[in-house]
């Protein structure tokens, strides 16, 4: 069997030349097209993955915020509850009694007539009227 021996150097040189010719190097024929398509697909997948990841991160943040909002709303309603209990007149009476406060006796009341002095004649009610 005859064997044709070709010097290796020119082949490498030719390859080098081809690579240096950029347009020719980038010419998409055959397998290159397939590679380009795969790269495009990978790029799109990567993009999609990045977007999904970003969305998931933001979704997680939103979920966290929602949880926080729920917690705050719960805290708010609990504070509202404590406030409402503290506003109960029965409770206020009890606390006042603990402070040794007592309801005013009718005899302690003083009734004063207040009016525009310019508009009327002075009357006996201009001074405090004691409860009889």
């Amino acid at each position: 069997m005859a064997v044709t021996l070709k010097p290796l150097y020119p082949t490498i040189r030719e390859a080098k030349e081809r690579r240096t010719e950029l347009l020719r190097y980038l010419r998409l024929d055959g397998g290159r097209r397939l590679i380009a398509a795969a790269l495009l697909l990978a790029l799109m997948s990567g993009l999609n993955l990045a977007q999904t990841g970003r969305l998931a991160t933001q979704g997680h943040a939103v979920a966290q915020l929602q949880r926080q909002q729920t917690e705050l709303l719960r805290e708010r309603s609990n504070l509202q509850l404590r406030l409402a209990r503290a506003q109960s007149l029965t409770d206020i009476e009890r606390r006042a009694a603990r402070l040794n406060l007592r309801p005013m006796k009718p005899e302690q009341a003083r009734y004063i007539t207040i009016g525009a002095l310019d508009d009327r004649e002075p009357s006996e009610h201009d001074h405090p009227v004691l409860n009889p």
């Binding site: 998931a56 939103v62 509850l81 409402a84 506003q87 007149l89 009341a109 409860n131 009889p132």
Partner: protein, 618 residues
């Protein structure tokens, strides 16, 4: 032995046995083999198709494809609960609100059974639940999770968290909470375990208070939390509206405190107090006793939490109804304020003897004296002067025999026998004249008095002042629904009722002043009042002999009235007459209300020995 190479294929060989006769090789014909192969291919293909179906989710189970089931598992419709509206009093204090409270569950499989008795004892001391019950729940391994107690106070929940015990699970659950307990309980009503209003304002406004539940359709994780990757469809919840009531907390506190004192003092079965603004019909206070705590409504009888006696319980108004007889007669021009009828103490009508409360006569009485002496005989004669047609027409004008239209659940209609109804007789007109043979609700009666205080204008009573969705509020406008009497008639009746009120003053003041004559019932103010001692029907056409209902209705002050008041004490044990049971209650409430309203006293309306603001020290 040679293999046959014609149309059969050797499948196996049976080794020849020396002693056995020569056997033929087992052969399977090619077409059979092909058939088997075809069968195998068909089966494999079927399996492949089925696997494909499973993989693509097309297999149906229970009418649904796997794909549908998978989608349902991943993509779910989750309800967004709508918070129930808040109820406030007229000053903005919260009376009812939704609070997320934690409930305690145990997971028996996670509980260390050796430590369970000790843990049960610890929880028992925190929760107030018997420790054997808790222990039984912990040992019930047939269930994954058992609830120990619902709706813990936040402090208790924190202490349970601090125990750091595996197997104890706290879960949030919404609860309707009434922070002021039994305060205005019959007005507010209650909400059942399904979060549905069952009485009071909660029942009447249930649909508005509960709002509408929203829905979120989304892909969810194992905890059913929405995942924000796939697009979501959100139909937001519409929260319930907030209600602000007309109830004034101070007025409500005064009447609740005084009513409880009166019921306890007279060892009565119960009682009712209503305070209404005559100018608008707004209910400023409405108390019934015995009352209930809406937080624990289920611990009471259904009659207690379902029935608001102020609007739902009928009674014969007794002598308080004489106010109506006078007002109706004056309006109908059936008689004047000077018309005199004779009161011999008892009269016979249609074979029946009709008597005064004490059987004693009062001689010639005009309408004012009839009210003053609370003369039954005088009232029935005045009713006769009015005549059945005009009497019942006026009853209708005042709204008796039909609901007042107040915005609360459980209002009763009342019972009025009219000439058109079977069983009516002229005797009914006579007894109706002094408040027997007719059944009204306390609200109907106080509304009538409020109309007298409002120059004859009859207002629709209402309990909700404003309804708000966020900042968007609708304010209830007072609504006049009629004018049964003219302002002049109303004024005349008020003057009569002032004298009637002062007639009762000795009950409160005689101990202090030593004066058993007429005096100012509420020193410094003119007030209207009329008592009524009502008999209680026994259900057999008669009346019970040993019990009454004592009531007073009136206005404070008499002119430019700010408060229409009705007090009612049911079946007092220590005294038969309303003048002794209900007048001190009325006087005390009226005194505190005029002071609270900062109405200046007139020092000319104070008798010697009296004190402005004074009342019986009960």
């Amino acid at each position: 032995m040679a293999a046959r190479t014609t149309r059969s294929t050797v499948v196996s060989r049976v080794p020849a046995q020396r002693s056995a006769p020569e056997m033929r090789p087992v052969t399977i014909s090619r077409w059979r083999l092909n058939l088997l192969l075809l069968l195998a291919v068909v089966i494999i293909a079927r399996i492949a198709v089925h696997l494909g179906s499973i993989q693509t989710g097309q297999v149906r189970i229970g009418g649904r494809t796997l794909a549908e089931m998978a989608r349902a598992e991943v993509r779910q419709r989750l309800p967004i609960p709508a918070p129930r509206g808040v109820i406030r009093d007229s000053k903005g204090n919260v009376l009812a609100l939704d609070v997320d409270l934690q409930s305690l569950y145990v997971v028996p499989s996670l509980i260390d059974q050796k430590q369970a008795p000790r843990l049960a004892l610890t929880l028992s001391s925190l929760l107030g639940v018997p420790s054997p019950d808790i222990l039984a729940a912990m040992q019930n391994t047939s269930l994954y999770q058992v609830r120990i107690k619902r709706w813990l106070e936040p402090e208790i929940a924190e202490r349970i968290v601090a125990l750091d015990e595996p197997g104890l699970v706290l879960q949030y659950e919404p609860r309707r909470v009434y922070p002021q307990g039994a305060f205005a309980a019959h007005v507010i009503g209650a909400v059942n375990f399904e979060h549905t209003g069952i009485s009071g304002v909660e029942g009447y406004y249930d649909t508005l208070l509960r709002g509408s539940t929203g829905v979120i359709t989304a892909e969810v994780d194992s905890q059913r939390n929405p995942i924000w990757i796939a697009p979501q469809e959100v139909s937001p919840a519409s929260p319930g509206i907030d209600l602000q009531l007309t109830i004034d907390p101070t007025v409500q506190h005064i009447i609740e405190t005084e009513l409880k004192k009166a019921v306890d003092e007279h060892n009565a079965d119960g009682g009712v107090v209503i305070v209404m603004d005559p100018r608008t019909g707004a209910i400023l206070g409405m108390a019934s006793y015995p009352t209930f705590d809406p937080n624990r409504y289920f611990e009471y009888t259904p009659e207690t939490y379902n029935l608001n006696p102020a609007i739902g319980m009928l009674y014969e108004p007794g002598s308080t109804f004489k106010i109506f007889t006078v007002a109706a007669g004056l309006q109908a021009r059936a008689f004047t304020a000077d018309t005199v009828v004779d009161d011999p103490g008892s009269v016979y009508r249609y074979g029946w003897r009709l008597s005064n409360w004490n059987g004693a006569g009062n001689g010639p009485v005009n309408p004012e004296k009839m009210l003053y002496h609370s003369s039954n005989v005088g009232a029935l004669q005045l009713a006769e002067l009015i005549g059945a047609d005009r009497f019942y027409a006026m009853l209708d004008e005042f709204g008796f025999g039909r609901p007042t239209g107040i915005d609360m659940a459980g209002e009763a209609t009342g019972m009025v026998q009219t000439p058109a109804r079977e069983g009516w007789s002229p005797l009914v007109l006579n007894t109706n004249g002094y408040g027997q043979g007719i059944a009204v609700t306390p609200l109907q009666l106080v509304r009538m008095v409020a109309a007298i205080g409002n120059d004859g204008k009859l207002m629709r009573p209402y309990i909700v002042e404003r309804r708000c969705r966020g900042d968007d509020c609708v304010i209830t406008q007072p609504k006049q629904i009629g004018q049964p009497i003219e302002p002049g008639v109303a004024w005349t009746v008020r003057r009569m009722l002032v004298k009637s009120a002062n007639h009762y003053a000795p009950v409160v003041w005689a101990g202090t002043t030593g004066n058993y004559g007429d005096a100012w019932l509420v020193p410094g103010y003119e007030v209207c009042a009329k008592t009524g001692t009502s008999s209680i029907p026994d259900g057999r056409g008669g009346y019970v002999s040993d019990a009454t209902i004592g009531s007073v209705t009136g206005l404070a002050p008499a002119e430019n009235a700010r408060f229409a008041i009705l007090v009612k004490v049911d079946r007092p044990r220590d005294d038969y007459w309303a003048v002794r049971t209900a007048i001190p209650l009325f006087q005390s409430i009226a005194t505190q209300l005029v002071q609270y309203a900062r109405i200046a006293p007139d020092m000319g309306l104070v008798d010697p020995g009296q004190t402005v603001g004074g009342r019986l020290n009960r």
